[in-house]
Amino acid sequence: MTTKLPQSQLPEEEILRVAEQEQEEKSQYQRHIYVCMGAACLAAGSATVKDSLSEVVDQNGFAGRCAVHGGGCRGLCAEGPTVTIEPDDVLYGKITPQDAPDIIKNLGKKRPLERLHRPTDRPFFLRQQRIVLELAGKVNSERIEDYIASGGYKSLLKAVHEMSPVEVINEITRSGLRGRGGAGYSTGLKWRTVAKADGHPKYVICNGDEGDPGAFMDRSVMDDYPFRLLEGITIAAYAVGAEQGYVYIRAEYPLSVRRVQNAIRQAQRLNLLGNQIAGTAFNFDVQVRVGAGAFVCGEETALIASIEGKRGQPRPRPPYPATAGLWGKPTLINNVETFANIPAIIRNGADWFASIGTEKSKGTKVFALTGNINHSGLIEVPMGITLREIIYDIGGGIPNGKRFKAAQTGGPSGGCIPEEHLDISMDYESLAGIGSIMGSGGLIVMDEDSCMVNVAKYFMEFCMTESCGKCIPCRVGTAQIYRILDNTTRGTATLSDLEQLEMLCDMVRHTSLCGLGQAAPNPVLSTLRFFRDEYLMHIVEKRCPAGVCHLHPEPALYNDTKESVR
């Protein structure tokens, strides 16, 4: 089904032709089976499931009537491997290769296979609203034709043919889209700054260094919708006037690297990247840069240093990358999810987007819902949904009859939301109001068996080991805070340590050079705010109410000989 593009043809027409051809081909089949090729399902063995499905299709003479494709994530990661059958919209979960004959035999029947069926009319699906993940797994992440046939690249063509860069920026600004990386800065304003900045060339960087432990939203977008991501990046490049882009992907996501690289090659083949894109004067190309395991590279100046081949250490801002970024040139940095929103905004218009969400937080947010929750997986919800709805309606509540204790958002930079705030609206301002952050979208649910001091210690250890070491407050402060938390969980801390803890948190927060250090005390401050009694029980009563910490009040030695192969 490879399509060769004759040079003479007009690109736009050619794209439409590709779409038609693809649709035509598809329509020859009565059924399309999409086997999820996302990391979660792959890990659960979806590749062999796909092979056996194809085999059964061929053997049983279904070839020509039924096509098996690699597809994307439906969000029910815990149910992998999942398979979606179109046009019936039947979702099967926990498939094994042995299930293939049954599935194929059942095609076309009224009732889906009971034992594998995962009904999609449940709150898990009904309460979600999908923009970023709109293709809902029903597109092949490795074939640009499939993406185009599903309506892909229309937005780019619309942008470059029908809109000026300024109009694109205005549209994005009007949509109210805010950066999905965590800080929530207005995307349109950022684009405008880069567009206006003096300096040439300009760069666009897609931040795919999703480093929060417990977050995998961006990976899913890169794995499943790499073309959509590229389309968003390309529109951005057009708007700000950039000629070169980079997708910075963390090394832990080899599949994302492969998929995005593949997508770049295919987009280049169809002249959707490269010189004179879609027959216009707009030139833009993209390279993948693979990170190497450093959380701090999620910080934009550190990420730039990393792309430049240096240690990923941040530098003071201003100047912001928008005016002096990569190689000192104006640089637009947005996160994966932000770019993935762009095509939908251009296609459906700013007003449509702005109608979703809250007054100040527009659109949807993708969360990785994990921890002590019945349906863990990837969800996309309109901004402003309450935490209670996410946890109890979509997530199906807490397993094993346990009690909800807290939900953690924003990873090591975020905070814990206690039971009394379950009805909080999930938007930037509300979360900040109770000392947490939206963050990139990790949402970890904890039940009564979790010790909040231990959780604070966990995040502080993370920040300590991920601190780049450049500025003193973060380098030494995180180590000192970690030491106090460690002593608390061992039962050797005193009340004066608690005082010192607060003093150190205040200092690290206000004096650190970059966001990592400034936000590092957040989990501690947040747990101190809502679960101070737990700290006191550890310190005064030498008791861990959740039974997690083993308290033995002998003095502990700091630095239990950390060694590594490095």
Binding site: A294, V296, R311, R315, P316, P318, M464, T465, E466, S467, C468, G469, K470, C471, I472, P473, R475, V476, G477, T478, A479, Q480, R483, Q500, M503, L504, M507, H510, T511, S512, L513, Y558, N559, K562, R566
Partner: protein
């Protein structure tokens, strides 16, 4: 050509060139702002956070060494809050390494010691971390005592930016990081070191010193850097 701006530092009206930093202007006006990683003639990295100042209307504290002045800016360099933070930062440096002034070559000529005196640190309230660090005395003329290193990277920068050898860099990260020579080898075996001694002069503490110096005998004099920087500027 750069224009002239006026701003207020600690309530005093001062004039400045628009491309100057807050630190430059403060020093011109004899307003003291503590620094450690800053050294005239080297790039400004804003890493030690001692020169943080408050600027009216900006919620974040800004590093005076790396923040350019602006018209109408109101800067405060010596508030209670800043003093509290600075004191804690200096204290943390004492806990991070193994600093024993009384046996140190730089005793009496040490910027860290001076900072401690300026911030009236007569005791350290935080626990010492006692890292296991070594002394590299393999160089013919100089010694690097990693116990006294505060990771200001002045040596790294002077070697890269002024001498052009880039013998030094930083290994690892966070609390585990440290200054290295070439491929983390003994200084004396470095193939890039020119033995110029600029790093030794740039060091604020007793981490880098000349061999044979006894306690209190290492006096650093990095002022030559200003001249070198000016000469280079003039040649351009």
């Amino acid at each position: 050509m750069s224009g002239v701006v006026t701003l207020k530092i600690n309530g005093i009206d001062v004039g400045a060139q628009e491309n100057e930093t807050i630190l430059d202007v403060a020093r011109e006006n004899d307003i003291f702002i503590p620094t450690l990683c800053y050294l005239e003639g080297l790039s400004r990295i804003g890493a030690c956070r001692l020169c943080l100042v408050e600027v009216k209307g900006i919620s974040k504290l800004l590093p005076a060494c790396a923040t350019t002045v602006a018209e109408g800016m109101e800067v405060f360099t010596d508030t209670d809050r800043l003093r509290k933070y600075r004191r804690l930062i200096v204290e943390m440096l004492f806990t991070e390494g193994n600093h024993v002034c009384s046996v140190c070559v730089a005793n009496g000529h040490c910027e860290l010691q001076t900072l401690a005196q300026q911030h009236e640190i007569d005791y350290v309230s935080l626990p010492y971390l006692y890292p296991q660090r070594t002394v590299d005395a393999s160089h013919e003329r100089f010694v690097f005592d990693h116990n006294r290193c505060v990771l200001c990277t002045r040596c790294v920068r002077v070697c890269d930016e002024v001498e052009g050898a880039h013998t030094w860099d930083i290994r690892g990260r966070g609390i585990e990081s440290g200054v290295i020579t070439d491929l983390n080898q003994p200084w004396g075996t470095s193939v890039t070191c020119t033995s110029c001694g600029k790093c030794v002069q740039a060091c604020p503490t007793g981490a880098l010193f000349m061999k044979g110096k006894s306690v209190g005998e290492m006096v650093h004099s990095p002022s030559f850097l200003t001249f070198l920087a000016q000469m280079r500027e003039a040649k351009k």
